[in-house]
Subunit: 260 residues, 2 copies
């Protein structure tokens, strides 16, 4: 059984209104598994009979039941109505948005940060969160004007990485001060920027700022850059998708022990 | 004026039926500009008054008129009805699908090829076409089971790169024979593969095969691989988006003169 209030609440989460409540919606087996595997607080799980029809779903249903979290059981058609996606796989959850603040980050050597300057496409932002997670980025910041990292599309594109890699939403002056006080190098992605050479990042930490597609970086960010960096394009296309450009720059900045 | 037949034809192009006709739909100023800048044949341009309201659009309208191509003029609301996107920016076009075949490729030194093995997401395939174009890949192949490179979503994600980088649709045995006969190295992307070291590709050409997300490479492709390669992930996420993984592997395989 699901209450009328729970249904209303889930429906609100599919619109921008949910920002007022500090919670967001997670759908599907893989994403809910990732959510339960994170430190985020789950407020409600909603489960339908189709979940237990595959082994992996049955395992997830057991985990949900054993956890003692609040649980609503609905029919498959009720779940389809509640879901934002077409195939919710018999499960969705409401989770509390974490309140990450840069002030809480204790930087170590070679701390890597990714900053989104008015990134408006949720698919690109989510894909970048997934890349950040895979490449070992420590922190992400979504500057004002960027898409909500907890929107359903961004969460899906991140494959659950938004549950694990901290992403805070703070204005540039605060972020810049934080970076300056700790001697971080501020790199800005720019199609006309200098190609990155491995080893450019030494002891200290760094932040890589990615701008809006197609309008680029905002003036205040551009002015604060220590270096504008880009990918040397040997082909005829003059730009890369922002999630691709961000991945290539991060890979080169972070480097790894396997590269010659 | 637009004829009833032209309207019917455009509406068919928004569905899978258009495959029968060998033509596809292109929408928006930037994409139509890219189309006119390519060697592809344009069958019909459709223009509405809103196109000329911005300087860049007015320039495009002039180019279309001067070219002597078949042109239909419609109202803005008629164009919105015809378009697949919400903001067609006053212009769309029907173009003839090029008939690229691997048999026509004359490989040179360090020829780079990208092969899609059952890639089903049009956004990922389009993003990979854009990356291939930017990094100087010479040829792409979409194996059976892959999404149509000329679908509206793939064309949009490619930012027009599908008009420039050849992409053929051929079965694996033919592709493999072509590669073997020319001593190409066949690399397969695999999350558990060996990290790529720069310089691994020397004189000869290579093909990088990307598999389905999440099921991976098909058996026949996997068996033909010379090497399985992957990205060493320092973070906690066990996989990357396929368009991101493809970009990182290509960047490392192709290398560039700016890297140390």
């Amino acid at each position: 059984m699901i209450t009328r209030n729970q249904v209303k609440r889930i429906n609100r989460l599919k619109t921008r209104k949910r920002r007022d409540e500090g919670v967001f919606l997670v759908e599907g087996v893989r994403l809910v598994e990732e959510l339960l595997d994170s430190e985020l607080q789950v407020e409600l799980a909603v489960v339908a009979p189709s979940l237990v029809r595959v082994e992996r779903g049955a395992q997830l249903a057991k985990t949900i039941r054993d956890s003692g979290m609040q649980l609503a059981e609905v029919t498959d058609s009720e779940l389809s109505e509640l879901a934002d996606t077409e195939t919710p796989q018999g499960v969705l959850a409401i989770a509390r948005e974490p309140s990450w603040e840069l002030a809480n980050l204790q930087p170590g050597d070679r701390t890597a940060m990714l900053v989104y300057d008015r990134l408006t496409d949720p698919g690109n932002l989510g894909t970048l969160m997934r890349t950040a997670h895979a490449l070992g980025v420590d922190w992400c910041v979504a500057l004002p004007g960027s898409v909500d990292p907890w929107s359903p599309k961004a969460v899906r594109a991140s494959a659950g990485s938004v549950f694990h890699v901290p992403v805070s939403r703070e204005p540039w002056p605060e972020v810049m001060n934080w970076l300056r006080e700790r001697d971080f190098t501020i790199f800005c992605a720019d199609p006309g920027g200098e190609p990155v050479t491995r080893g450019v990042v030494r002891g200290e930490g760094f932040a890589l700022v990615l701008g809006n597609e197609p309008s680029g970086l905002s003036e205040e960010v551009r002015n604060a850059c220590d270096a504008r960096i880009g990918i040397h394009l040997s082909g005829k296309m003059d730009s890369l998708n922002v999630a691709t450009a961000g991945a290539l720059l991060l890979d080169r900045l972070i480097g790894d022990p396997d590269r010659s």
